[in-house]
């Protein structure tokens, strides 16, 4: 009990500040592995000797804290939490000889390896960027000389141009089946045939919309096509002298009547 209190005290101020910084900065992490790496720094040991068990506890505590503060954690943070909880139980419980799969130690060793490798790549990146760089520390020729004017045109293109070009075509291609789609088109021939069969019954003025074929009045695309072709067919029938057509004013209903 006394020891616990002592521990609590030691943790205070600086580490608590660090923990709070973590919470506030959760968006600043590039995924759970990055967060684990940051947490591992508080252990102040060589990454090869990092205590994965302790790390798992720290991570789970972090997730709990984030939950308490009602911070939204991305799904992969929660997946990692679940995995670490599983790992923790494997590390703490005596191994069950009947159970299949890797031991807790193996899983822990791999996680330690991943952390070490990520840290190594971070260091490598820093060393790379610290190198002398062209255009900053050392320089290419300022005046590339082209003395004799033999004009020869060459064409250049980068792989990126090529791929973007291809992507452009293929994106268009994705829509192709739709572009070629003719199912929703009611042709004028179809409309004419239909109207010829129907006009025998059109004794009095009747709205053109009633002549639309069945099943073509729901979907706007189909409706538009059927309306256009029915109208065109009507005009054709007027021209042939079979029909009369009228409209009282602009946008008013168009009406048809059989011509005797």
């Amino acid at each position: 009990m006394a020891e616990n209190l002592f521990e609590e005290d030691k943790v205070s101020i600086s580490e608590r500040l660090a923990a709070e910084a973590l919470i506030v900065d959760v968006d600043g992490f590039e995924g759970p592995l990055d967060l684990l790496l940051t947490l591992s720094r508080t252990q102040k040991v060589d990454l090869r000797r990092v205590s994965v068990l302790q790390l798992a506890r720290q991570y789970l505590a972090f997730v709990e804290k984030a939950k308490a503060l009602r911070l939204e954690l991305a799904a992969d943070y929660l997946v990692m939490a679940a995995w670490l909880a599983f790992l923790k139980s494997r590390l703490l419980l005596p191994p069950d000889p009947t159970e299949e799969g890797p031991s807790g130690e193996e899983l822990a060793a791999h996680l330690a390896f991943q952390l070490e490798r990520l840290q190594a790549m971070r260091d490598a990146a820093a060393r790379l960027m610290a190198r002398d760089q062209l255009g900053r520390d050392f320089f290419a020729r300022g005046q590339s000389e082209m003395v004799t004017r033999v004009r020869k045109v060459t064409y250049s293109a980068t792989l990126l141009d090529l791929m973007q070009g291809y992507a452009r075509i293929r994106t268009r291609d994705d829509f192709r089946p739709f572009v070629m789609d003719r199912e929703s088109v009611f042709t004028m021939e179809q409309a004419l045939e239909r109207m010829r069969g129907l006009i025998g019954y059109a004794g009095d003025w009747t709205e053109i919309s009633t002549y639309l074929p069945e099943g073509w009045d729901g979907d706007p695309v189909r409706r538009r096509s059927a309306t256009a072709s029915t109208f065109a067919a009507s005009l054709e029938l007027v021209k042939e002298g079979h029909l009369e057509i009228r409209q009282s004013e602009m946008f008013a209903p168009i009406q048809l009547r059989k011509r005797d």
Partner: protein
Amino acid sequence: MGEQERMVEAILFATTEPITVRDLEARLPHGCDPAEALVHLRKRYEGRGVAVTRVGDAWAIRTASDLGFLMQKETVETRKLSRAAIETLAIIAYHQPVTRAEIEEIRGVSVSRGTVDQLLELEWVRFGRRKMTPGRPVTFVVTQDFLDHFGLESARDLPGLKELRAAGLLENRPPPGGDMLRDAGNEADEDESAEGQSELFED
């Protein structure tokens, strides 16, 4: 070699314009004497492939005059390949061996003669085996020059659609409102509109 000479050498090499003694003085650390360094440097380059030469009241490093013949190849004008040519080239690379009719089908527009001629002239594509289909049409394939130019080991190493998508070069879905545009394009099946349509969907 004196430190000042080194510095003058580096500046002369890297500047985009011939540089005057006064400008050199301004760029060198305080107390340097570029005029003297230039004299030494000039002597050092005597009889070499390049020379320290005076251009008006400024200085530059230039190719030795007897070696001008080596520079002829350097005077090339590079132009960007047209979009039609790029697209045609891409289709050949991804679908080879491919016939002209197939290219037209994929692009949705007819392929002008000039486009293919240009690619043939660049030696980026060549004629492949004839297809065993009616008419035995000729096919196109890409060349070793093509692979060299684009830094590919083989045409199979070209990234696929999924990889293009992953690299952000290909958008997953048409932009919202794409339906309407598509219908509009549909009504006129001409080359022009197909071309225009693809531009609408681009990016």
